[in-house]
């Protein structure tokens, strides 16, 4: 994929994260009640809406974070071949996604 497309995806995921993380912060930290209580967690875990929400948040967050990290690494250590950086981050991203998506899916 070209650098321009990767950057456009960075913008799209950035806008998506603004909405998704904003909602997550409001629901989990700024709203009343006990959002981190086990009952509240279990209630959200059984909802297909929240499952889709968290998986989408995870995909957007991983892409945005790892692409940002890639930009910093490639710019700061230009000797490193870009393909090595790309494949390392893609592998790390898939591993983190597998672990992090397993939690809400297994609780659903």
């Amino acid at each position: 994929m070209s650098e321009t497309r990767l950057k456009i995806l960075q913008y799209i995921t950035g806008i998506g994260l603004f909405l998704l993380v904003g909602t997550h912060l409001i629901v989990s930290h700024l709203s009343g009640g006990e959002p981190t209580a086990w009952e509240s967690i279990a209630e959200r875990a059984s909802s297909s809406f929240w499952l889709a929400f968290y998986v989408l948040l995870l995909i957007f967050g991983l892409y945005h974070g790892l692409h940002g990290l890639r930009t910093i690494i490639i710019e700061s250590i230009p000797r490193l071949p870009a393909k090595v950086v790309d494949w390392t981050l893609v592998t790390a991203g898939i591993a983190i996604f597998g672990y992090a998506a397993y939690i809400p899916i297994s609780a659903f």
């Binding site: 950035g14 967690i41 974070g65 940002g68 230009p78 672990y99 939690i103």
Partner: protein, 147 residues
């Protein structure tokens, strides 16, 4: 190294990470860029820890409540607020960067009349609007955290 960089059509990055802090007569926007990267790395570290902590949910009620009792301590509350503040800064500054990269808020071209003002040194109202919005939101979230 220089040959490789020039082959790709880029100038070599001689300053490396040191260039984030100082590389000459930097403007406010350049320091906002440094802060954007620092908050981005901080948020990435937080998200990694957050995802690892989420794994405690698989251990059942006791495991989860033990973890939550640790996070109820005041030190973690301060950390939680710093994460929220970093998110506010990163999100709003990211929006500004996006608009500038796409050329929307760069301002109209001006004739080169002395004293010359290059694009990096031009004062843009969007920077001050953004900083005011960050301050307002950070204070709002602080009040929400405290109360």
């Amino acid at each position: 190294m220089e040959t490789k960089a020039s082959e790709k059509g880029h100038l070599p990055n001689r300053l490396g990470i040191k260039g984030w802090v100082w590389g000459g007569n930097y403007t406010l926007e350049r320091y906002l860029y440094t802060l954007h990267r620092l908050t981005g790395l901080g948020l990435l570290l937080y998200i990694t820890l957050h995802l690892a902590m989420n794994g405690f949910r698989l251990g059942g009620v006791e495991s989860w409540e033990d973890l939550m009792s640790v996070f109820g301590m005041s030190g973690f509350k301060v950390g939680e607020y710093l994460v929220a503040a970093a998110f506010i800064f990163h999100a709003l500054n990211g929006g500004r960067l996006m608009l500038q990269h796409l050329g929307y808020t760069l301002g109209k071209p001006k004739p080169p009349v002395y004293p010359y003002v290059d694009s990096m040194r031009r004062r843009r109202p969007i920077v001050w609007v953004m900083l005011a919005s960050i301050m307002a939101l950070a204070i709002y979230v602080l009040v929400a955290f405290v109360t």
